[in-house]
């Protein structure tokens, strides 16, 4: 029985910039959870050139570079918020579908390393939800050289926007001469929804009329057609409804079938049938300490389990949490305690978000040819007595499970 990872290199790198490829690395685990529902006992995972070269069961620990009780694929957080700085969103207009988060990223921010150290190796990045439609989100690795070239997994992975009270906060009606651009719509929830609808209708009509390309038209049309998924933040029931009804209206008008993902959907449990009907997926926010989340939305420990039972595709997120009790693995642990089966919990932090973001060919599972992103655990994952003790990112080893950095 190997209780904990054997630390071959104990020194913690000051900054998490894994050296370009340890060429070959062999990881042994008593149990490798290679994908939801799949376990390989006494697994030897061979990594070459940053990719997984082979996974074999019935192996021996001797000779492996790293050894752990359990191994999973690197965790994926599709609602990770590395920064809450509003300088990621262009607020001079309330709809900026053409804005690209990739140009606003600060890859030197500490949030990336905090994610990596808790086992999150792939994340979605998107503008802070202060606009109605914030722009195009991207999928990135959390470590490696601090350049877009090195970290980008997929650009323009989804269109990002929000319902609820956040996009209208700070705005006011324009009466007298405006002092700044906040004298504008939306100032209410209905204004927010109106902006969404107007953006899609405008884009669609301009396309029908073959008019000049206004910024954002292509992005909105791609979202309408279902080619690019639409991630909409909506915490409370009324806002989740609004997002679903928006997608259904577009479909009913013959404008296209959106692939809807409702992010931070704390109250999705209230009307799961609505989500099933619309084939929308859900990403849950971190479990709040006192039940209430943003916009007064309530969620509890069994929210994930309820949605899973109803058949709603489910991802979990830690948002920017990294302290004790706030990590992504701990969100999965709470969901387990609330009744979510292990495989569904694993899927919610690996394969489901990877699939929703269109990057499942690279991350989310341990299989030949996939990126060698691994989390090493000191026991069965998503138990309160278990924690990540090592992280491998594209074959480079980051040893140490400190999350409080």
């Amino acid at each position: 029985m190997i209780a904990a990872v054997t630390l071959l290199t104990l020194s913690l790198p000051a900054a998490v910039a894994p050296a370009a490829g340890a060429d070959k690395l062999v990881v042994f685990a008593e149990r490798a959870f290679t994908a939801p529902g799949e376990v390989v006992e006494d697994a030897l995972i061979t990594i070459e050139g940053g990719k997984i070269a082979s996974v074999k069961g019935g192996g021996r620990a001797s000779g492996a570079d790293l050894k752990a009780a359990c191994v999973t694929a690197g965790l994926v957080d599709m609602s990770f918020r590395y920064s809450t700085n509003p300088n990621t969103v262009e607020q001079s207009s309330e709809v900026t579908a053409h804005a690209r988060i990739s140009s606003s990223l600060d890859l030197h921010a500490r949030g990336w390393e905090r994610a990596l150290r808790q086992g999150i190796t792939t994340v979605a990045a998107f503008p802070v939800d202060r606009n109605v439609i914030g722009g195009m989100g991207a999928v990135l690795k959390t470590g490696g050289e601090a350049t877009l070239d090195a970290r980008l997994v997929r650009g323009d992975a989804f269109l990002r926007g929000a319902m609820g009270s956040l996009p209208s906060s700070g705005n006011r009606p324009s009466g007298s001469r405006p002092a700044n651009f906040y004298a504008r719509r939306p100032t209410t929830r209905m204004g927010v929804e109106w902006e969404w609808r107007k953006a899609f209708y405008d884009a669609w009509q301009e396309t029908q009329r073959e008019e000049d390309d206004r910024p954002g038209r292509k992005e909105l049309m791609s979202a309408l057609s279902g080619e690019t998924p639409v991630f909409i933040q909506a915490w409370a029931t009324q806002d989740i409804r609004t997002a679903v009804f928006l997608a259904e209206e577009m479909a009913a008008e013959g404008m296209g079938t959106m692939r809807l993902v409702i992010d931070a959907a704390a109250e999705a449990w209230r009307e799961p049938a609505l989500l099933v009907r619309s084939k929308a997926a859900v990403c849950l926010p971190p479990l709040p300490a006192a039940g209430r989340t943003t916009d007064g939305a309530f969620m509890s420990m069994d929210t994930a389990a309820k949605l899973h039972e109803e058949g709603v595709p489910l991802a979990l997120s830690a948002h920017s949490g990294y302290g004790s009790g706030e990590t992504l693995a701990e969100q999965a642990t709470y969901a387990r305690r609330g009744g979510l089966p292990f495989d569904a919990a694993l899927a919610a932090v690996t394969t489901v978000p990877a699939t929703l973001m269109g990057v499942s060919d690279r991350v989310g599972t341990i299989a030949k040819g996939r990126d060698a992103d691994l989390v090493l655990w000191n026991g069965t994952p998503f138990e309160f007595t278990t924690r990540p003790v090592g992280v491998v990112l594209e074959g480079a080893t980051l040893v140490g499970g400190d999350t409080d950095r």
């Binding site: 300088n87 607020q91 001079s92 140009s103 600060d106 890859l107 030197h108 601090a146 700044n180």
Partner: protein, 362 residues
């Protein structure tokens, strides 16, 4: 009262104007290279006509022998204490043709204060905090005289240029604005993209250092980054940009990174200059910062150059200030010892071959 003093200084301080003056000193630093032991300057009609180790005194010349050092007048990069309170026009994110020279207050006491600290040439700059704030100006503190009203195109690529209630509110838009303007190539942006107008790009954190370096490389910009604190890990990128770095002021309370970054830049072959950044800092503080860097390992000659020739060069003022060479304005300072020794005193300041501060008449 302050203005009166200033006028009095200008009228009374210069010695009677001789045709030729020879100034000899134990150590002569010309703003480049290494200090010359036992060097001399010949000044004729306000210009340097000879400078070096073996300089003979022409017949009829006045000869001054100074026990100590001669350096070029110090170069004060990025000052705002002679432009009053209107430091920046916030009405537009891009103000490429705005000229801060029009804000210069010719009787500002700050000019005299700079002069008395040995700072004979300064750049006056619009404040940072918007993507493009306009053109800086090159100014002689004695006079004062505006030598160049369009010295540098002043840009800001840091989070400081992003506002919460004005366009741009995002780093992406900030980058697009500047990249777009340089690509379009009109007006001052065109001059900058053609390498004719140097730029000064404010950077504050690593992402802005990286972005600014890439922007400069992509568009072939000349000039300097302004901000050294976060360059330590990005020396390769900065070096590849072709820009120099105007270093953040190093105060007595500076932490290790401040000096490590500067030393790393120098080790990576990047040309550096110290910035003055008034009124937040006193003109005397530049010597303190240079001395602190030397204590942390910076080559003393590079520190001297970073206060004179190199600072002027990367600020686009290399033809006007920072070095003592034949044909150049005779702007220099006599020190009791090396200016890098904080116990050294400033004895005299000369501008255009005239003593404007210090000496026996003071």
């Amino acid at each position: 009262m302050i203005q009166m003093l200033h006028l009095a200084l200008l009228l009374a301080a210069p010695v009677a104007s001789p045709d030729v003056v020879v100034v000899r000193a134990d150590h002569l630093f010309l703003g480049h290279g290494e200090p010359i032991e036992g060097g001399a300057l010949i000044v004729t009609d306000g210009k340097v006509t000879a400078a070096g180790a073996s300089v003979a005194t022409p017949e009829g010349a006045i000869e001054i022998t100074h026990e100590g050092w001669i350096t070029p007048g110090l170069f004060g990069a990025f000052t705002m204490d002679a432009i009053g309170s209107e430091r920046r026009d916030d009405t537009r994110p891009l103000m490429p043709e705005a000229r801060i020279a029009h804000s210069l207050r010719p009787h500002a006491a700050a000019l005299t204060r700079n002069l008395r600290a040995g700072v004979t040439t300064i750049t006056i700059n619009p404040d940072t905090g918007r993507p493009c704030t306009g053109a800086s100006a090159l100014v002689k503190t004695s006079g004062p005289a505006v030598l160049d009203p369009e010295l540098q195109l002043c840009l800001d690529m840091s989070f400081g240029a992003v506002k919460t209630d004005e366009h741009p509110t995002s780093l992406a838009s900030l980058h697009e604005l500047l990249d777009g303007a340089l690509t379009a190539g009109e007006g001052s942006f065109g001059e900058a993209a053609a390498g004719k107008l140097p730029v000064m790009i404010r950077v504050r954190d690593r992402q802005s250092v990286r972005r600014a370096s890439v922007l400069a490389k992509d568009h072939g910009l000349k000039g300097a980054l302004f901000g050294s604190y976060w360059t330590e890990d990005l020396v390769e990128e900065v070096s590849a940009s072709g820009l120099g770095v105007l270093c953040d002021p190093v105060g007595v309370s500076a932490d290790d990174r401040a000096m490590r970054s500067i030393n790393a830049l120098v080790a990576g072959g990047v040309k550096i200059g110290f910035s003055l950044v008034t009124p937040a800092n006193s003109p005397e503080s530049m010597r303190v910062g240079a001395a602190m860097c030397v204590r942390a390992g910076l080559d003393p000659n590079i520190a001297l150059k970073a206060m004179t020739g190199s600072a002027a060069e990367i600020s686009g003022a290399g033809d006007h200030a920072g070095v003592l060479a034949v044909g150049r304005d005779a702007d220099f300072v006599l020190w009791s010892g090396s200016p890098l020794e904080l116990s050294s005193s400033l004895d005299e300041v000369w501008v255009d071959g005239q003593r404007v501060h210090g000496g026996e008449d003071k």
